[in-house]
């Protein structure tokens, strides 16, 4: 049996084969995992994060020596996973990998009993890494697989054990909505758990025959375009091209027909006002030309897939815009949008890591920015709840004194920056800025990416939705009314200063007009508006 022989010895070549299979599997279903997001806010990026996290391991293994000893192979994989981790799911994955590699490094050959040990160590490491483990997530799926493997008879063969693990894992994914109400409300299974099973099944080799069936059965959200991505093998094309297309009355299927002959792994997903396009092609210019004729392009990314990922990541994380003076403490901030970066920079932050909602930076990108900081101590502002864990991972790995101020949004991060003083120590800054965090509430206005009921609010796809502290509080067709509801909640209590950050693109004019009206309506509060230029969110609000 192929999986059997493939798993037997820990060599660079075997690791490449195994991780390569994992990478192909998650690449093929990346969009599905992304679409399993709970909230209708445009932040579905678990699949992307898992894919990019695995891709970092692929890249490091590609560069690794063929004759590495067992321990070194495990170290390469562990380190690549830790540094390549993106988003909370990527960080948890990296801890799973770390535990698995610790167990694997102690084995001459991998047997059924060895797989059980690997799973146990992976489970324990992952649970330890998460401060408050939540059941109904990737953790549950991993734990239930481990428990099933441990309960299997000692005489079980490796192929049978692997089949049992995969079967148990998918069953566990299926049960996640029964453990986590937000999943049940949204009618989805947990994206992280689903992604984990896609990867594990990819590695096991799909010999159980359940592969496509289990994944497709669980992927039951209506209205989502199925991936037509080539399930196996690397693309013959050079450029991975992705972008957002905004417009009116966009015809997705028609665009899909036009793009189809130009490449493979084609995905055209979204609404008649906004489409996300992904294609592997040798003619990105032609692809963009076809799209430009239909609307406005945003977030265009053209990656040369033949260039090592590591090189690309290093380039993306290149430090920029260093602060003028270097004191005792520097702030590394994760920001999206040119205006936002300037605002942070004007308060003394930098170096920066580009990223945020739906584009979580890897731990390595954050690490590079921390390394580029010249001060002896660094405070990281992740500015997104999905980046907090990666930032904490960097803090635990970094050689200099690094702390994380767990800012969940850019606007709250900005408020906290007011308390930053480069001449103060890390602890002093942390204390001062934490004090500000306790007083600030964040609000957001964006568009729903699909229909659903969340937090007891009825949401229609395309409607404006308002969030306070990440919780949905308002939905409707009128931008101002949604913004007003959010603002009213933000100003409840003693808050009196509202910072409004206008995003990029279509919604910006509505957001500007809304802020002018908010000033009149809530005339007892102070309003300060700036052009943040952030993607996806026309209006970000912070009240303190």
């Amino acid at each position: 049996m192929e999986a059997d022989s493939r798993l037997r010895a820990v060599t660079t070549a075997n690791a490449r084969a195994l991780v390569g299979a994992c990478h192909r599997a998650i690449e093929a279903r990346k969009q599905q995992v992304n679409d399993l997001n709970v909230y209708p806010v445009p932040d579905g990026d678990t699949g992307t994060n898992l894919l990019l996290s695995v891709r970092a391991v692929v890249a490091d293994l590609a560069n690794a020596d063929d004759t590495l000893p067992r321990q070194a192979v495990c170290d390469v994989v562990t380190n690549a996973a830790l540094m390549g981790a993106r988003g909370n799911s990527g960080v948890i994955l990296s801890q799973i990998v770390r535990g698995a590699m610790e167990a694997l490094a102690e084995m001459e050959m991998v047997s059924a009993a060895g797989v059980v040990k690997i799973l146990r160590r992976a489970t324990d490491t992952a649970y330890r890494a998460v401060r408050k483990p939540v059941e109904g997530t990737i953790l549950t799926v991993l734990r239930e697989m481990t428990e099933a493997a441990e309960a299997a008879p000692e005489t079980i063969g490796l192929p049978e054990l692997l089949a049992l693990i995969v079967h148990t894992g998918w069953k566990s994914v299926e049960r996640t909505p029964t453990l986590l109400k937000v999943l049940a409300d949204a009618g989805v299974v947990d994206a992280g758990g689903y992604g984990l099973m896609v990867m594990i099944e990819g590695m096991v080799g799909g010999e159980t025959g359940e592969e496509g069936a289990a994944a497709d059965a669980l992927f039951s959200i209506p209205g989502i375009a199925e991936s037509t991505a080539d399930e196996h093998g690397d693309s013959i094309y050079t450029y991975c091209t992705t972008f957002l297309l905004k417009g009116v009355a966009l015809d997705g299927p028609e665009l899909e027909r036009q793009l189809d002959p130009l490449g493979d792994s084609l995905l055209v997903v979204g609404t008649d006002r906004q489409l996300k396009i992904h294609v592997h092609t040798d003619e990105p210019g032609v692809v963009l030309g076809l799209a430009t004729a239909r609307g406005v392009l945003l977030q265009v990314a053209i990656d040369n897939m033949k260039i090592q990922t590591a090189e690309r990541d290093a380039r993306l994380a290149a430090p920029s815009l260093r602060p003028a003076t270097v004191g005792k403490t520097q702030v590394v901030a994760v920001v999206a949008g040119a205006g936002m970066r300037e605002l942070f920079q004007s308060l003394g932050a930098g170096p920066f890591v580009e990223g945020g909602q739906s584009m979580n930076p890897s731990a390595e990108e954050i690490m590079n920015a921390v390394a580029a900081a010249q001060a002896p101590a660094v405070l990281i502002l992740p500015n997104n709840k999905n980046i907090v864990m990666a930032a904490e991972q960097v803090a635990s790995l970094a050689e200099k004194s690094v702390a994380v101020l767990p800012t969940h949004s850019m606007q709250v991060g900005l408020s906290a920056m007011v308390g930053f003083d480069p001449e103060n120590s890390l602890d002093e800054n942390l204390a001062e800025m934490t004090g500000i965090l306790e007083e600030v509430l964040s609000g957001e206005v964006t568009r729903a990416v699909r229909d659903c009921v969340v937090d007891d609010v009825d949401v229609r796809e395309g409607a404006f939705i308002g969030l306070v502290e990440g919780k949905l509080v308002a939905s409707g067709d009128d931008f101002y009314e949604v913004a007003r509801d959010v603002t009213a909640r933000l100003l409840a209590g003693d808050r009196e200063l509202v910072t409004a950050l206008i995003g990029e693109g279509d919604g910006a004019d509505s957001a500007r007009a809304a802020v002018d009206r908010l000033r009149e309506e809530f005339d007892y509060a102070e309003f300060e508006a700036h052009e943040g230029g952030q993607p996806l969110y026309p209006l970000l609000l912070a009240a303190e």
């Binding site: 605002l343 007011v418 003083d421 480069p422 200063l497 910072t499 300060e528």
Partner: protein, 290 residues
């Protein structure tokens, strides 16, 4: 001045000199034992004597429409020589109180002039505006009761060390353009509008607390007041404003909300010279426990 240490000082033999940046309120300005030497403010080619040729109302109106920001200059030593000479014919002792020597050459001019006389002590408050008026008022009270040089100097030391001094500006622009931003320089590049609570530290402007929003700054001012005074203490308070009289009442209300025994002894306006750097909308609080 050791030779006069035992000399009993009172209103018959002692006078106080301040410069115009003490921003004297009307009552104090009329005190017969107090005299004032003006600094100058220049709008382009036109010069005015602070508090003499130009009053705050006119100044802030002009500031709004001026093409370029005004500049300021210290009084010449000769101006102090004239004043000291006039006073010395009537008084044996003079205490000359001036704004921070790190912000203006006024203290320097006064010191130069003083060297031609005996019986004159030049004092650097290390602050600006009504801190000078408040100190002058306290010294005049001591003269009313009768005092000594040693008592005055130890009070001056206490005042320089322990008195409260904080202010809030509507904008840091004037402070920065006028080159007096001091240690608050780090706040200037900020694209967010800061309303820091500022203070004087070793004679220059320093940030006491970085905050945004007028109300937060006012709350920080109240906190500062509580930190610097003891529960139940009787506190002499001076509050000055730059074209924003309502802010004096707002500050006073905040102070009266505390359990301190607040005595508003001076209430005034920020004159043209300090106004050049503070800008309209500023409010300053000075106080000392009695």
């Amino acid at each position: 001045m050791g030779m006069v240490d035992e000399f009993r000082l009172d209103r018959t033999n002692t006078a106080i000199v301040v410069d115009s940046t003490a921003d004297l309120s009307a009552g104090l300005a009329a005190d017969p034992n107090l005299s004032m030497v003006p600094l100058n403010v220049h709008f382009g080619e036109t010069s005015y004597c602070d508090w003499v040729d130009i009053q705050p109302t006119e100044f802030y109106a002009r500031l709004k429409t001026a093409d370029a920001l005004p500049t300021t200059s210290q009084p010449s030593p000769a101006r102090f020589v004239d004043e000291y000479k006039r006073l010395r014919t009537q008084f044996e002792r003079i205490y000359s109180i001036h704004l921070s020597s790190k912000l203006s050459g006024t203290f320097e001019s006064a010191t130069t002039a003083q060297q031609e006389f005996t019986g004159i002590t030049v004092i650097d408050t290390g602050m600006v505006s009504q801190s000078g008026a408040l100190l002058a008022r306290q010294l005049l009270e001591m003269l009313d009761a009768g005092t000594s040089h040693d008592e005055i100097m130890s009070y001056v030391d206490r005042f320089r060390k322990d008195s409260g001094r904080v202010f809030i500006l509507d904008t840091l622009e004037y402070l920065q353009k006028g080159g007096r931003i001091g240690k608050a320089a780090g706040l200037v590049g900020s694209l967010l509008s800061m309303k820091p609570l500022l203070t004087f530290n070793e004679g220059i402007v320093d940030t006491y607390k970085k905050v945004r929003g007028e109300r937060k700054a006012m709350a920080a001012m109240q906190e500062y007041f509580l930190e610097k005074t003891s529960p139940g203490a009787r506190v002499a308070v001076a509050i000055a404003h730059a074209a924003a009289p309502h802010k004096v009442d707002e500050v006073l209300d905040l102070l009266k909300q505390t359990d301190r025994d607040v005595h508003l002894v001076l209430r005034g306006e920020v004159g043209s010279v300090i106004g050049t750097y503070a800008g309209p909308g500023a409010v300053a609080l000075f106080f000392i426990e009695e």
